[in-house]
Amino acid sequence: MSFEVPDDLRYMESHEWTSTDDGSVRIGITDFAQDELGDVVFVELPGEGDEVTHGEEFGVVESIKAVSDLYSPVSGTVTAVNEDLFDQPELVNEDPFGDGWMLEVDPSDRDALDELLSADEYRDQIE
């Protein structure tokens, strides 16, 4: 089974992705992660204005199989939260890189993004 790993994103070993957009970056979990978790039933996220830190927990995702912590790929301030996930957690399964996004964060250290896994490196990890 092969999983979608978009080339233009950066990845964590713990299966979170981040975009590298100018301004705020978008954060979510990967196709591989949603498949491992199975049907997601609940997502807990921080609020707008909260601080997140690279490598530290920023929320929780719960499926019928497991409850997992979410680790932030970047440090910075949360500028937007995907509130659709509170009513429709299935978006994480259906479209992990699109409508299933979780946070938008204004990164405090943009250079740190370069230290995350590239799409190729992440592909190697999950294969």
């Binding site: 039933v41 019928i64 199989k65």
Partner: protein
């Protein structure tokens, strides 16, 4: 052979009483002090004959499964049949006392509570016991509040509680609710506490280590005295989660191992109903040094009788009056009926039954030697599918996928109440599933009232109150 009863009407399970037959009843006048939007003029109330009513509830019970239907080996939950004589004792009109009666007029009640405090103290090796907490988890919370009060009285506020990763979820919740940071302790390769990891975790910030012994996979923590020493050396307290005390009854006592505080799950160790939201009891015992902080009231002897008293620096009340009296009566009756020898026999049978069952099943059990429960692994099979398949053989399956230290875990605890034939029935169910292919497992169960439950919808769109009944009709 097993086939569960199934009563349906128009494709739905046994209808609600109000759906069978109901009558509109006019209620009240206009004199209610409540705002208009909170009051109703009429109510639809079920109106049924007595046989219809009796049959409704009997049908529901036949579509259910409980400890009076067959074995229920949910590891760590300890579901077991409770002997009926304890119900008789609790239903005795003499047991029905108003809690506000004068002490003088309820000496018998106080005497029984006093003796239960004493029995529990002697069973656990504790010096003082409060019967007040209304459940095991409430007992944990009470115990950790006592630890906190003790540290504060020492002028030494500590910030951390250490808990093994395999511990019951309530331990983490208890520590967090009491305002402590949780330090999670990984298990060692042998499934026990890793002493090096513990050494690294303990510090002057350690308020307590919460431990179950035997632990969650049924292993006795052999290094318990060394563990106690390490915690005590930094000024921390050792907390015993009484979940698995049924493995030690009459043979070993937490107090002798160095534990300072413990709670008793009277439903697991003795015989009271398994809470489930109803009244429960979770007494807490402590060593002398902590007695002054226990929740109040407790019972003590006075000149020629018994009286209630508040410990000097009590953390206060954690429940009304002296706790759930009628539950405590059942625990008392069970201990008194079994006596020393009976309790020792109960723990022997709990351990023997688990080991006999473990020896009869074809699934691997990675950790041992185990006591009252074991964590088998379903290996390449999905533990949840195996559990669903076991339902077809007329038994309740074990706890699945927990603890996480065992992949595809099937945590199994037959308890002391089952006989050999029942254990063989359980083994038959395990072994039948062991020999079956994924296709068969994935389509199980086939013989139960309800088949595969839609867990995803249930979790995503929970309907938790009667308001949701309206949604269900849509």
């Amino acid at each position: 052979m097993y086939d569960q009863a199934r009563f349906t009407q128009n494709g739905e399970y046994e209808p609600l009483l109000s759906e069978k037959d109901s009558t509109k009843v006019e209620v009240g006048g206009d004199d209610s002090p409540l705002p208009d939007d909170l009051t109703r003029d009429s109510l639809e109330l079920p109106e049924l004959s007595e046989p219809e009513l009796a049959r409704h509830y009997t049908r529901l019970s036949q579509m259910n499964y409980g400890v009076e239907t067959g074995p229920y080996p949910l590891g760590s939950c300890t579901m077991k049949y409770n002997p009926k004589f304890t119900e008789d004792v609790a239903a005795d009109p003499n047991a029905a006392i108003h809690p506000d009666r004068s002490e003088r007029s309820m000496q018998g009640t106080l005497e029984m509570l006093y003796h239960l405090q004493d029995y529990l103290g002697r069973i656990g090796g504790m010096d003082a016991v409060t019967l007040q907490p209304p459940a095991g988890a409430a007992g944990e919370f009470t115990g950790i509040l006592v630890a906190k009060a003790y540290h504060e009285a020492q002028g030494n506020e500590r910030s951390e509680v250490i808990i093994p990763a395999s511990a019951h979820g309530t331990n983490f919740a208890t520590a967090a609710m009491a305002g402590y940071d949780v330090v999670e302790l990984p298990s060692g390769d042998d499934g026990r506490v890793d002493l090096d990891a513990l050494e690294a975790a303990v510090s002057e910030d350690t308020a307590a280590l919460m431990l179950t012994n035997p632990n969650t996979v049924g292993l006795f923590e052999r290094d318990i005295t060394e563990i106690a020493e390490m915690v005590h050396d930094v000024g921390g307290l050792l907390y015993y989660d009484g979940a698995n005390l049924n493995a030690l009854l009459g043979r070993a006592r937490p107090g002798d191992m160095g534990f300072d505080i413990m709670h008793y799950n009277v439903h697991k160790t003795f015989a009271t109903p398994h809470g489930g939201g109803g009244p429960g009891a979770g007494p807490v015992g402590v060593v002398d040094e902590l007695a002054e902080f226990l929740s109040s009231p407790q019972v003590r002897r006075n000149d020629g009788g018994f009286e209630l008293f508040d410990p000097e620096h009590s953390i206060g009340k954690v429940h009304g009056f002296y706790g759930n009296w009628l539950v405590l009566v059942k625990a008392y009756a069970y201990i008194a009926r079994l006596g020393d020898e009976g309790l020792e026999d109960a723990s022997a049978k709990a351990v023997l039954n688990a080991n006999y069952l473990g020896s009869q099943i074809e699934y691997d059990i990675p950790y041992g030697p185990f006591h009252h429960e074991f964590a088998a692994t379903s290996g390449e099979q999905d533990a949840a599918d195996v559990a669903k398949r076991m339902l077809d053989y007329g038994v309740h399956p074990p706890t699945t996928k927990w603890p996480e230290m065992v992949p595809e875990a099937m945590l199994t605890e037959p308890t002391e109440v089952e006989n050999r034939e029942t254990l063989d029935d359980l083994a038959t169910a395990f072994n039948a599933a062991h020999g079956e292919d994924d296709e068969t497992l994935e389509h199980a169960p086939n013989k139960t009232t309800a088949r595969r439950i839609d867990q995803v919808s249930a979790a995503r769109n929970p309907r938790l109150s009667w308001h949701a009944l309206g949604d269900a009709d849509e």
